[in-house]
């Protein structure tokens, strides 16, 4: 019988050691991540991209690298970004990530990007923005009327948006598919935590979403595409080593089980 604390220590070491000693294990780009990249890359400058921070604080280590990589790509292409949150905990996080990445690219609030804050009742919010964004968000996160924000001039609804990206830790992209894709035929991409990724492959296969980023691996792949290594790629060594450790522990556990059954009957 292996002590469970020993397993915790082995997993902790398999994560910590590769973070300290860089192994530089290879990583490759999958087609679903490439789709998101290509969709953003082919947009003309000044096109408007909506990023919805549909996640809670607990999933920050997974969603932040994805959001940062996507935003870096958007700002490097001089796209306009509208950020908002449909889950309350994503509000301050979304605002902070947007400000940090915008500052890296010398982008100006209100001219190059805007953060609208949080709205509850996501179905109503997604449907409402298809008619009139200002009716759903009369003011931005700083309580400035949208009429006074230069970037929002001429942006009324989804017709003025080129792409919507839902950065999520739950099934919120499915609601974007339900309402924004089905009803307004808008292009939606999803950047979700790895645990949610399998739920969205059917939407990817059916063409209802354009591309998919799945957790830290998705972020690492996107960082390769934009040629800007970040927290995603730094974590992938640790991810790979810890997975090998888990596979080893599963094999050992099964061997132990079968040996014990053989000798004890």
């Amino acid at each position: 019988m292996i002590n469970r604390q020993l397993i915790f220590i082995l997993i902790a070491l398999s994560v910590a050691v590769p973070l300290v000693i860089r192994l530089g294990l290879p990583n490759y780009v999958t087609s679903e991540v490439m789709q998101v990249y290509e969709e953003i890359d082919q947009l003309d400058s000044d096109s408007v991209v909506m990023i919805s921070f549909d996640h809670e604080a607990s999933s920050l280590p997974e969603v932040k690298p994805m959001a940062v990589a996507i935003l870096r790509h958007c700002f490097s292409k001089n796209l306009k970004v509208i950020g908002f949150a449909l889950l309350a905990e994503g509000t301050a996080i979304g605002d902070q990530i947007l400000r940090e990445v915008a500052a890296e690219h010398n982008k100006v609030y209100g001219k190059d990007y805007v953060f609208l804050g949080f709205r509850p009742q996501y179905q109503a919010a997604i449907l409402g923005m298809g008619e009139d964004i200002k009716r759903v968000f009369p003011q931005d996160y700083k309580n400035i009327s949208l009429d006074q924000i230069p970037m929002m001039e001429g942006i009324k609804n989804y017709q003025d948006i080129s792409l919507i990206i839902s950065v999520a830790d739950g099934d919120m992209p499915a609601y974007w598919v339900d309402y924004a894709v089905s009803r307004y035929h808008k292009k939606v991409s999803a950047a979700v935590t790895a645990v949610m990724a399998t739920s969205f492959y059917p939407f990817l296969a059916s063409g209802q979403i354009v591309g998919l980023l799945g957790g830290l691996k998705g972020a690492a792949e996107y960082e390769i595409l934009i040629e800007k290594p970040g927290i995603g790629q730094r974590g992938m060594d640790a991810q790979s080593v810890s997975h090998l450790m888990i596979i080893l522990l599963v094999i050992l556990g099964n061997m132990g089980y079968f040996l014990r059954r053989r000798f004890t009957g």
Partner: protein, 198 residues
Amino acid sequence: MQIGTLIAAFLTLCIFSFLYKDNPFYKFAEHLLVGMSVGYILVIAFNTTVTPKLINPIFQEGKIVYIIPGILGLFMFARFLPKYVWLSRISIALIIGAGAGVAIPATIQAKILAQMQATMIDFATVDGIIIFVAVATTLAYFFFSKEHKGWFGATARVGTWFLMIFFGATFGYTIMSRISLLIGRMQFLLGDFLHVIK
């Protein structure tokens, strides 16, 4: 070192201490998280929803009609008063009615019709055939009006193999997700807190 980093590191270690065994430090951090989350959500919801969508329209813009949804919202609190609990049912009925009306057609279109269409296309490709066989056999497994014996049982068994593949993939992704969270905390502890990694 910033005070915020110290507090975050202390609370992270408090939560990790549960891996040894349950203890007061873990309980303190857990309760703090729950309390802070609820408080934060309440403040955000009030400031970004109740104020701009209800209070400002009524008191600053004079849109008196907004009183109606305001009153319906207050009815929800009638659940705390046994004598007036029936009032909350009016609001709940409205939410369920409107919610179902909005959700049902959208769900049928996005999750049934579009997915059925995606299952039927690309019959000439290996992927298309695999998708069709997987959907058909999995649906056979969930068809309970015929006993799972003979050819039908064999079909349903193939469906269970596809289900097992799905569960395996989902479990693999779940491990990846949980490890990612651990990596995030380790990066914080070894980087921002201990400065072992740059």
